[in-house]
C-alpha cells in the first residue's frame, strides 16, 4: 500500500494480526463469514482512524482485540453499556459456591468425550452468550490475561474469572451431552 497514505507500521501490524482478528470475529459471529468480515473491516478502519492512540506496536494487539470485541458486543446488545453486569454474573459468594459445586469429570471416559473435533467445539461455543463466548475466546484462544480482558470489557477481574468459569462449565455440558446424548453432563450449563 505504499503511497496509499496508509502508514507502513499499520501495514505490518495488519499483516501480523489480521488472521487472529478474523478467527475471533468468525467465532463471535457464530461462523457467519459476511458478519465476520464486516466486523474485522470496521475494526481495522477504526484502528486506522485512531492511529495516534494505537501507534505503539506493543499495545496494538490489545487495542485491536478490544475494538473488535466491544464493537461486536455493542452490536449484539444494542444500547447496553460496556461494563454493565451480565445477567448471571456471579458475585463473590456465588462464584465460590459455583466453584465448589463443580463435579470433577468422571475419569478418562468423560475426558475422552471432550476430545472432539474443532467443528463440535465451535458449535458448542456458538451456544454461549456473546459475552461469555468473547471472554472465553480472549482467554483461551488468544491468551490475554484476566487483567487485560477486564480492561477491554471494562468489568472487574473477578467478573472475567467467573465468566471464564461459566463458559467452560457450559462448554463441558454441551460437549459431553452432544458426544453422549444419553449422558447428563455433571456441573450443568451456565
Amino acid at each position: 500500500m505504499a503511497g496509499s497514505g496508509v502508514p507502513s507500521w499499520f501495514e505490518t501490524v495488519l499483516t501480523e494480526h489480521l488472521g487472529a482478528l478474523y478467527q475471533a470475529a468468525l467465532r463471535y459471529c457464530r461462523g457467519s463469514i459476511a458478519d465476520a468480515e464486516d466486523l474485522v473491516q470496521d475494526t481495522v478502519l477504526r484502528a486506522l482512524r485512531a492511529q495516534d492512540q494505537v501507534r505503539s506496536h506493543e499495545t496494538m494487539r490489545g487495542w485491536l482485540f478490544r475494538a473488535l470485541t466491544t464493537t461486536h458486543l455493542n452490536r449484539v446488545r444494542g444500547w447496553r453499556r460496556r461494563g454493565e453486569a451480565l445477567a448471571g454474573d456471579l458475585g463473590d459468594e456465588g462464584f465460590e459456591e459455583a466453584l465448589t459445586a463443580w463435579v470433577p469429570m468422571a475419569g478418562p471416559e468423560e475426558q475422552l468425550l471432550l476430545k472432539v473435533q474443532a467443528a463440535e467445539v465451535a458449535a458448542a461455543l456458538d451456544q454461549l452468550a456473546p459475552e461469555l463466548r468473547a471472554t472465553l475466546w480472549l482467554r483461551d484462544a488468544e491468551g490475554f490475561s484476566r487483567r487485560e480482558i477486564a480492561e477491554m470489557l471494562d468489568v472487574p477481574e473477578g467478573t472475567v474469572a467467573s465468566r471464564v468459569f461459566r463458559a467452560r462449565r457450559a462448554l463441558r455440558a454441551t460437549l459431553t451431552a452432544s458426544a453422549s446424548p444419553s449422558r447428563t453432563a455433571a456441573g450443568g450449563a451456565a
Binding site: S4, V6, L18, E37, D42, L45, G78, A141, R172
Partner: protein, 275 residues
Amino acid sequence: MRNSLSMTCGRARRLAFEPTRGQVTEIERWLAARHVAGCLSCRAFEADMHLLATRVPLVGAGEGPSPEFVSRLRRATASAGRGARYRRVAAVAAVAAAIAGLGVLAALQLSPDTRDPLLVELAARRLALLAEPGIESADPGAVEQWIVGRTGLHVHVPTFDDARLLGATATRIGGYPAAVVRFQVGTGYVAYATVAVAEAAEPDVTLRSASMQGLQLVWWHDRTSRHVWSGSVPADHLASFARRCIEQAAVVETLETAAADGRQPLPDHGRGRGV
C-alpha cells in the same frame, strides 16, 4: 481476606482463577496451595479446567480470511488513508445533481395533514427506534459502514457542530429496509431515517414538514430513498439539519466523482465538517 488457617475448596479454586485478586496474602496463597495439594477434588478441578482450556484453541485453525476479503480490506484502508470517504454515497447522487441544477435548496413547505404511512409509522415508532439495538459510535465513517453492512444502504452520515452523533440502527419501515441515525441535540434527540422505498421517483429536494404526535418531521426524497429528520425540536431547526445533510452529501459526492474521473485529487479531509 481470611487469616484463619482454614481454606475451603471454593476459596482455593477461586484463587486459582483470580490469583492476583484483591488483598491476597502470602499466607492465603500458601494455604490454598496446601489445600489443593491435599484435596483430590480440587486437583481434579484444576485438571478439568486445564483440559477445557485446551479445547477452544482447536477452533479456527486454518480459518483465514479469503484473498478477496484481504484485497477489499486493503482497498478500504487505502481509501481511508487518503482521507477519502470509504463508500460512495450513491443514495444521494440524484439529490446532488438536483442541487447542482437548482443552485439553491428549496424552501421548507408545511404539510400539516400528511397521511403518508411511512411518516406515520416513523412517528409512532420513534421512541422504540431510538432504543433499538444497533451501532453506538460517534464516528460517521464507522456508522456508514455499519449501515451498509446491515442494510445495503449507502447513507451519508453528516457531521454537525451543534449535534453529537450517537449511532444508528437498522430496521424496516413500511416493510422497506431503513437506517435510523441518532444524534443528541442539547438534552434532546433527533433522528435521521433513510428508507429505501422500492418505487423510483424523480428526486425532489423540497423540504416538507409536518407535526405528528408531538414530533416534528422534515423530509425529502431522491430517486430511491425517503429521507426523514425527526425530533422534538422546532421545524426550522430540524430543517437546518436536513439542509446541511444534503449539502454535505452533495459535496462528498462531487469530490468522489471528480476523484473517480481523475479530474482532481481528493482533499485531505474528505468528510465535511459541521457547516
